[in-house]
Amino acid sequence: MAQIRVADDTERVSDRRMGRGAFLGVLGLGVVGLAFGERITRGLSGPIGAVGDVVPSAIKELVPTGWRIYAVNPPWPTFHPATYRLQVTGMVERPLTLRWSDVDSLPAVSETANFHCVTGWTVGGVHWRGIRLQTLWDMAHPLPEARYVNFVSLEHPYVDTLSLEQTTMPQVMLAHTMEGAPLPREHGAPLRLVIPEMYGYKGVKWLHRIELVDKLVPGYWEQRGYDVDAWVGRSNGYF
């Protein structure tokens, strides 16, 4: 049986140990990345964000900001302030149809919260400003039989749901401002649902209709196997 022989086992002075150099180099880059990666990419995203619309979004997206933008039916909906309407319908005493100027003048609150995606990434300390759902309930008066709330996106057919009690959890809001600026298009302009205690897929973007119902209607991802109660760290194959 033939034996395997290496090329030459005698080490020459001119030989360089490039193999271990490459191996250790990859390890070194990995450690630097683990320690400083987010800081480096955040440093890069500042100047690129500042150039604004000059840079095509396809190139901007190559530089990670910590956010990953998901959509189920591209392109993203476009917000037109003149024609936008926010509807509150279903089991309420007074259905509402609000113009953007009405929504914008509702009492707003600010909060800072971590954003967790079910795929594992997190953006820490996001600053939101927006409207508490209780403000809308005080105007529309939900009927006693209303148990669940459907949040319908302009991005058809995206929809998600909360129980009526969950809509008034302390940090739940309809955000129209993010990091001090109007909610960007990719984050759901003009209005998105924010539920810090649940994974991001519950936070409907491009929100335009809120529907109060008596029976649970599973949301877009929930019809596809994800959990309805998407508690961070306690749902969706947590093990």
């Binding site: 193999g19 990859v26 683990l34 760290g233």
Partner: protein, 217 residues
Amino acid sequence: MTRFSAFERTLHWLLAVTFLTMAATGLILYLPSLAEVAANRGMWKSIHLGAAIAFWAGLIALLPGNGRQFRGAAREIDRFDEDDRRWLQWAVTRRGDEPAQGRFNAGQKLNTAIVSGLMVVFTVSGTLMYLQETDAAFRGRTSAILVHDLATWVALPLVAGHLWLALVNPSTRHSMRGILLGGVRRDWARRHHRKWMDTVEGQAVGTGSAEPPSPSP
């Protein structure tokens, strides 16, 4: 002409099968366009982690009894001589003749070294991802996801190039026989790995004073 021992072939296919499993399940968990397939995240995560554990368990199981071979191959991959450096230049410029190469050419050495490093980077960053998914206290401490992603975007082109050379490219795809069955044709080895052939034939004719760091099959 035997190019790869049974140990080397087993290690190669252990990595190939577990890597491709991890790449496929990882992409299902990662790509938004596959999010629908990934609805059963728990199952895909279990397969992904299971493949990682299988790789390391297999490596640990293979090492006893094969340590000498492992070190011998590692030494070959580590050392780059003058011809290896000229080969890397040739691989980019394609000017002149291909410099003579040993059992591994310089590109194979570099690929092996980088992939070995990536295996460690994947394992460390993946473990941190597992921890932060299990316990929110780990979230935001390290850039584990970013590193795991970047490692993927380095590894996939390397593997794609490796597959192209092994399966498609006419002059190199004969090497598939070596990694499947162990042996390669002499004329092919002489063309692509002349220094290795010179050594093998030299030792076969000579007195064999230099002890070959070879396996006893």
